[in-house]
């Protein structure tokens, strides 16, 4: 048993915000204070904040695209190494920030083996991956046939063969549009596959996913990312779901209006108003941070647009039977008016939206920068003065074309904990974490309470995973392996010939090797029930 004595406990789910108390753990779980404990390890947590381990709901931390990015950037390895360390180093860095669970935001089923191989390097962290489905051949065929039962089975099968935890859409249909040479810039634009539109695809997939009772609803990267005046299309996309549950990721990139000359300005107020009216949905922000970043996305249209406008080097790959991926290095600059507006827009969204259990802090690593920036971003949320100082340092467009300067809100500690622990846990359907109640997983982070919030969140005094101290004073002290979490909803095995037939038309590997079922990876997954 371990007890953290006299800590300031933060457990937003249970309405506890800084009350001094003890936290007991036995084995891998939090337990009630025993009446007569036999033997236990006592840790003095006086002056410490004690909170549930942080959960990363959306980052690109593993998989083939990052591997290619490392190769692409091998020659520019100065700042890149820090941005794109190895999977093992990424795992360690997350742990050292107090994270105990991390999800990779997009994995192509064809390359799921690589993602799992990377995730298994991440030591004590629990982790999982989201399976890309929006351009998968069997999915498109099932949607085209207008057969919801077939579609449900197809999604379940894809989750199983890829070892996925949730279903992910990236500008759904972009692969079809790309191949047919069409631009995909509106919900009702044709995808180049019969009369299929993005709206129809989105709705069919969200409904089918909802029918599977997955812990996490469909996870959506919407269309028109990064384009001036895209906020209305984003709000239309939210409405297109017709009340079905979903998570929308990195919404900062969809929160732009346009000035008279068509340049982007913040539309955070409009988007915050829109999402406030959708209680069944959750969101993450995709905050940008100044410095090196790397666009890694299946949204080929965005990456091509960035490549053409910025004339940057890029990699783009098409995957058989699926969509593809684009990779493009960039740097967010303080003196760039658009980057400054992006920075302000993300913070404005977070500060305007009142509910930290529905809108989470992410940087969409590595797209918006490194997750190592979280402590700094938290300091901007908690201290108006800190963000005003930053506003004064960057291009004046940020102050001029966003509402950030006028916002007085400062996040409280319990709100920061809610947006990084209990909120993501609930959104992800992780019922065993995100709280410090007895019976929950003993995933705990402790910070020394101090005035410098950035310093405080950058250097946890202690991180506990599954009841074991894994980080002590910034050092990894245990390498007990974590688990890769996955779901395995049932599907009708009579569908296998359908999957095989469609795969045979598009995919040139043995259908039975699509994807990880033939490996031992599948045996090591931690299966979360669908209820």
């Amino acid at each position: 048993m371990i007890v953290l004595r006299h800590g300031k406990i933060y457990d937003p789910v249970n309405g506890i915000a800084g009350e001094e108390g003890d936290l007991w753990m036995e084995g891998t779980r939090i337990c009630p204070a025993p009446a007569h404990p036999d033997s236990y390890t006592e840790i003095d947590a006086r002056g410490w904040i004690v909170a549930p381990g942080a959960i990363e709901p959306h980052a690109h931390v593993a998989g083939a695209p990052l591997m290619w990015a490392r190769r692409l950037l091998a020659e520019a390895f100065g700042p890149t190494v820090r941005l794109l360390p190895t999977p093992a180093e990424i795992g360690q860095a997350y742990l050292k920030l107090g994270f105990t669970t991390v999800f990779d935001a997009a994995t192509s089923p064809l390359y799921a083996w690589q993602t799992h191989t990377d995730l298994e390097q991440m030591g004590p962290l629990d982790r999982g991956l989201f399976t890309l489905i929006g351009d998968q051949a069997c999915v498109l065929e099932a949607v085209t046939r207008n057969d919801p039962a077939l579609l449900g089975d197809t999604l379940s099968w894809l989750l199983e063969v890829s070892g996925g935890y949730a279903l992910k859409l990236v500008n759904p249909g972009i692969g079809s549009a790309w191949r047919s040479g069409n631009a995909l810039n509106a919900l009702d634009a044709p995808l180049g596959k019969g009369d299929l539109t993005q709206r129809r695809l989105l709705l069919a997939l969200a409904a089918a996913a909802n029918g599977l009772h997955l812990p996490h609803p469909i996870h959506i990267h919407a269309g028109n990312l990064g384009i001036p005046n895209n906020w209305q299309n984003f709000c239309d996309t939210v409405q297109a779901l017709e009340g079905l549950p979903a998570h929308f990721c990195h919404i900062q990139y969809y929160s732009y209006g346009a000035d008279e000359s068509g340049r982007p300005i913040s539309a955070a107020r409009q988007v915050a108003d829109c999402i406030a009216q959708t209680p069944g949905l959750t969101f993450d922000v995709g905050q940008v941070f100044f410095g090196p970043a790397l666009v890694v996305t299946a949204d080929l249209q965005v990456v091509r647009w960035l490549q053409q406008t910025g004339k940057s080097k890029w990699m783009c790959q098409l995957f058989e039977g699926e969509g593809g991926v684009g990779i493009l290095p960039l740097s967010y600059q303080t003196n760039d008016p658009i980057n400054a507006i992006q920075w302000a827009t993300g913070l404005e969204l977070l500060l305007r939206f009142p509910d930290p259990s529905r809108l989470f802090l992410t940087v969409d690593y590595p797209n918006g920068g490194s997750f190592l920036a979280y402590p700094r971003i938290i300091s901007w949320l908690m201290e108006r003065e800190a963000r005003q100082r930053m506003l004064a340092e960057i291009h004046p467009a940020a102050g001029q074309w966003s509402g950030l300067a006028s916002l007085e809100r400062e996040y409280r500690l319990d709100e920061i904990i809610a947006m990084s622990s209990s909120g993501p846990a609930r959104a992800l359907g992780l019922k065993d974490r995100g709280s410090l109640a007895p019976g929950m997983l003993a995933d705990v982070r402790c910070y020394r309470l101090q005035a410098n919030t950035e310093e405080m969140f950058a250097h946890p005094a202690l991180v506990i995973k599954n009841g074991q101290v894994v980080v002590e004073e910034g050092e990894i002290v245990s390498e007990a392996p974590g688990r890769t979490l996955a779901v395995r909803p049932e599907w009708d095995v009579e569908r296998q010939p359908f999957f095989d037939q469609v795969l045979a038309r598009f995919v040139t590997i043995d259908p039975h090797q699509y994807s990880i079922g033939y490996t031992k990876i599948a045996e090591r997954l931690g299966i979360i029930p669908c209820t």
Binding site: L72, A74, E89, M315, L318, E320, T519
Partner: protein
């Protein structure tokens, strides 16, 4: 006894999974046919099984002890990740290098470096093999010809591809071209690839007022493409860096000029180059030319590539893990002064102080390799073949013997 079995073929980077092999005491046959695979399967009967120390047969325990002793005495070992390595074997070899503070490289790092440099400078668009059926309507081969180099690639993806319909061109393929199969195909072999690409690009840009007919026709073919694919073999380009740059400039120009999608697809030699580089990237963050120090991995092609280390004499022991069909005369010459520990499924192509035959994925062990487009393929062992130890387990035994 005759064995007929579905196989995943480990004998080239296509890793085809639709072959059936028939083996008996007399002969080997293959359906569908593939000369390259047939040669590989036909050679299985003579695969080595006995470990050797300086050419003399030895027991497994003796060679493990000898390898460990040699590694303990080494000041600077160089681990060369060869051909046919599974992901697990490559990872274990890299783990050993990290433990021993050794350098790790692949024999393909020079061409990989050229490719990386190009990607870093200009980027790249590529696609998986199956997309050849879906996307490109025009193919351009440079320095290679798949009908002879990759026979199944030709028969599976190109011959009879309705979308392409003979819209093919080959630049200096150096090999007999099956003109009868693809009438009308352009075949240019008068100059080297670099010269011809340069002329082609100039013609496309209108800088050659009256280009030769072949160049003119090729330029027209390229301009008319809705989507094109340039295939090239990294190991065969005479001038890798400038030729790769020319290929990329061509693809980039066509993407802009014709508003089409042009992709490139580099071929790497053998079936393990990409697997090894991926494994090294996973562990170190870098694909080749890495030295593990107490401060972590260092990447420097100028210092830690195999070529540099062998030329400078800085390495004092070479550990070759995986097959070595790449061991061309210059490589053999460069390796000659060095003591070598060789773990390979085939007989060593250089004199080895210690040689340990290890299993080959798809023949006498299972394992995952990456196809040339990076798709992971799992290979199962053939029945009938008695397994030899897998490279990863041998490496573990050696490391255990080396001690802390």
């Amino acid at each position: 006894m005759t064995l007929t079995q579905a196989v995943s073929c480990p004998f080239c980077a296509c890793l085809c999974q639709d072959l059936h092999v028939q083996l008996d005491e007399e002969a080997v046959s293959l359906t569908p046919p593939c000369e390259k695979a047939l040669a590989g399967f036909a050679g299985l009967a003579t695969l080595p099984r006995h470990p050797e120390i300086r050419g003399s047969q030895a027991t497994y325990a003796q060679v493990i002890a000898a390898a460990a002793e040699r590694l303990r005495r080494s000041r600077m070992p160089l681990v060369l990740l060869g051909d046919g390595l599974t992901a697990a074997a490559a990872q274990q070899a890299i783990h050993m290098a990290r433990r021993l503070h050794a350098c790790v490289d692949t024999p393909f790092s020079a061409s990989e470096e050229a490719l990386l440099h190009l990607w870093s400078e200009q980027g790249s668009q590529w696609l998986t093999l199956g997309e050849i059926h879906q996307s490109p309507d025009t193919l351009l081969f440079i320095g290679m010809h798949p009908a002879t180099d990759y026979p199944r690639l030709w028969s599976r993806f190109i011959a009879g591809n309705a979308k392409i319909r003979g819209r093919l061109a080959a630049i200096n393929s150096r090999l007999p071209y099956p003109k009868a199969q693809t009438p009308g195909t352009l075949h240019l072999e008068e100059q080297d690839e670099l010269g011809l690409l340069t002329t082609l690009l100039a013609a496309l840009k209108g800088k050659v007022p009256a280009p030769p007919e072949d160049i003119h026709n090729l330029a027209q073919l390229c301009l008319a493409a809705g989507s094109g694919l340039v295939l090239f073999d990294l190991a065969r380009l005479a001038w890798p860096r400038p030729t790769l740059a020319a290929i990329q400039r061509l693809a980039e120009f066509l993407n802009k000029r014709a508003e089409a999608h042009w992709y490139t697809l580099p071929f790497t030699p053998g079936s393990g180059a990409l697997t090894a580089m991926n494994a090294l990237t996973t562990v170190s963050g870098f694909p080749a030319s890495v030295r593990f120090t107490t401060n972590g991995p260092e990447y420097s092609p100028a210092e830690w590539s195999a070529e540099t280390l062998l030329q400078s004499g800085e390495a004092d022991l070479v550990v070759i893990v995986g097959g070595a069909p790449w061991l061309s005369p210059p490589w053999q010459e460069a390796l000659r002064p060095y003591p070598a520990l060789v773990l390979a499924s085939q007989p060593p192509a250089t004199s080895a102080e210690v040689y340990l035959p290890v299993s080959m994925a798809g023949i006498d062990s299972a394992g995952t390799l990456l196809r040339l487009d990076g798709i992971p393929i799992s290979l199962s062992p053939l029945e009938l073949f008695q397994s030899r130890p897998a490279a990863e387990s041998v490496l573990q035994d050696i490391l255990r013997e080396v001690g802390p």
